[in-house]
Symmetry: C2
Subunit: 311 residues, 2 copies
């Protein structure tokens, strides 16, 4: 009868009781960086990441969902014998909740209601819509897009998904491969852009796409600002080509003071805080416990970073 | 072999092609008020309702969910041999969607975000909360409250319900009878007041209840304005006793110009338009078709109005 020893896991750049607790919860033993750890749980950005990992380290867990910066710095590439995992997926639920909040607030005309200082159902009520029976196009069905599907379904909305491959997304009425993305603009009632941030995705929404949408459409972007052509969006909001837009990410980002998106009534901007620190830390702690549990059981932690794919 | 004839159904106060279509869809035959109808589908308020119904009428369908005014006018009481049905339930989904929108917008600090004209995650992000893992108290689990439970569940929120009887509400972690309502105020993170509007429900939320809530709580009212003590609510919002309130119904209603709720930053007011006409008519048409189907099959249409219960 063999018994594997519990893995020794360091937390960096600094020891942190919450993360050591998460390590213990997954069956690991917290140790220092100098104590020949089997794995490293990193809790901050790339600054201060050690140039050389101890040779005992077989797995490194990074705290971000998008790892472009880590890849561009060559840190992953320099350690090919280590399994690197991101936190992609750990934050999907909160970002999806934010997207749903923005979509619901738009469709039910909350911005106009908040601007009102008088009881005026005769002007406001006609602008209140519903997601019930509506079709929502989810552009990029990674973790966030997939988390949105059941949220929309309980509200009676239908989902059309666009993914790179077009492989059916569970719960979506139909999934289009990205080559057929142009079919979706006139078809769906509203859009949530939740494409995984990778370097090879081109701008998705420009003047032509906005013109093809229904004039009642709301466009929500929680993915990356440059997936939408900001000037074309401002023009579409001003002309009434679409009903509104709610952006958690912008181009440029940060959105400068005085930009028209701050004052256009049917534009909503949240400053990339769909996954704010107070929500991020507990979600990352949960992710760490899950992955330590897998590692301690001899399973591979996930999701493993693939430098050639960019995530 | 007997074959029942299709029921003859009048639409009032005026014939309306959409409603006659709904009658046909349920297996009925549209007819005029003077053509000895078996049933009457009423499409507007009580004004103009006939003082005397043709003796052939066995069923009357009313278009509203709350029927207090119809009862107070004695119209139902004057026709005891007729089955009266309301539209309670038909609008539950849209009102529940509105309540969810208001709750999400509050919890994720959308009012503060909409007021911003500058990219300020450092001030805004700390106020972004989540329904994930939160406990929502649903006060009054009629159609709206019951429709909310699965919407909250897909967002990872837990539900505590309060009902008159305390009989378990499907999907709720626990259901309290109204006698134990005071236990819920410190227990839940947020509250949705969705009590059925009846004359025997007292004011539910006053100064003591607001003081017992968590300072992070949002209170949503989509039921009836006088269930909340408005002055106590204004005081609680100003003192920070609770985080915010979103009201689709107010006391007084309409909320007068210049009322503090129009300008308190963490107060959201929608002018009783959670179920606006553009959404109400298709929902009522669906309800009519369902009930005509039941009536044509010899089943009782529903929900039957109980004058002694007040709904």
């Amino acid at each position: 009868m063999t018994s594997e020893r519990a893995p020794r896991i360091a937390v960096g750049p600094a020891r942190d009781a919450r993360f050591e607790q998460a390590v213990v919860g997954g069956g690991g033993v917290p140790c220092g960086f100098e104590d020949a750890p089997d794995a490293l749980i990193w809790t901050t950005g790339p600054d201060g990441f050690p140039e050389t990992l101890p040779p005992s380290v077989r797995w490194v867990q990074l705290p971000s969902a998008g790892v472009e910066y880590w890849l561009s710095q060559g840190i992953v590439r320099d350690h090919p014998h280590v399994t690197w995992t991101s936190a992609a997926g750990a934050y999907s639920a909160t970002v999806a909740e934010h997207a749903l909040m923005l979509l619901l607030a738009g469709v039910r005309a909350l911005p106009a209601h908040l601007a009102a200082t008088s009881w005026a159902p005769e002007t406001l009520a006609p602008s209140v819509g519903t997601l019930r029976g509506a079709t929502v196009g989810i552009i990029g069905a990674g973790g966030v897009g997939r988390a949105l599907v059941p949220m929309l379904a309980t509200l009676g909305a239908h989902t059309l998904a666009v993914t790179r491959s077009g492989r059916p997304v569970p719960g979506a009425v139909e999934t289009f491969p990205v080559e057929r993305i142009d079919e979706i603009w006139p078809l769906a009632d509203h859009f949530v852009i939740s494409a995984i941030a990778t370097t090879d995705v081109e701008r998705l929404v420009g003047a032509a796409e906005l013109a093809a949408m229904k004039p009642t459409a709301w466009v929500i972007n929680v993915a990356r600002g440059d997936l939408v052509d900001t000037d074309a969006l401002v023009a579409a909001l001003r002309s009434g080509a679409i009903a509104g837009a709610a952006l958690d990410v912008t181009d440029p980002e940060p959105l400068p003071d005085g930009h028209p998106l701050w004052t256009i009534p049917n534009a909503v901007v949240t400053p990339h805080d769909s996954n704010p620190a107070p929500l991020r830390i507990p979600a990352y702690l949960e992710h760490v416990t899950e992955n330590v549990t897998r590692f301690a059981s001899g399973l591979a932690p996930s999701p493993v970073i693939d430098p050639s794919a960019g995530y």
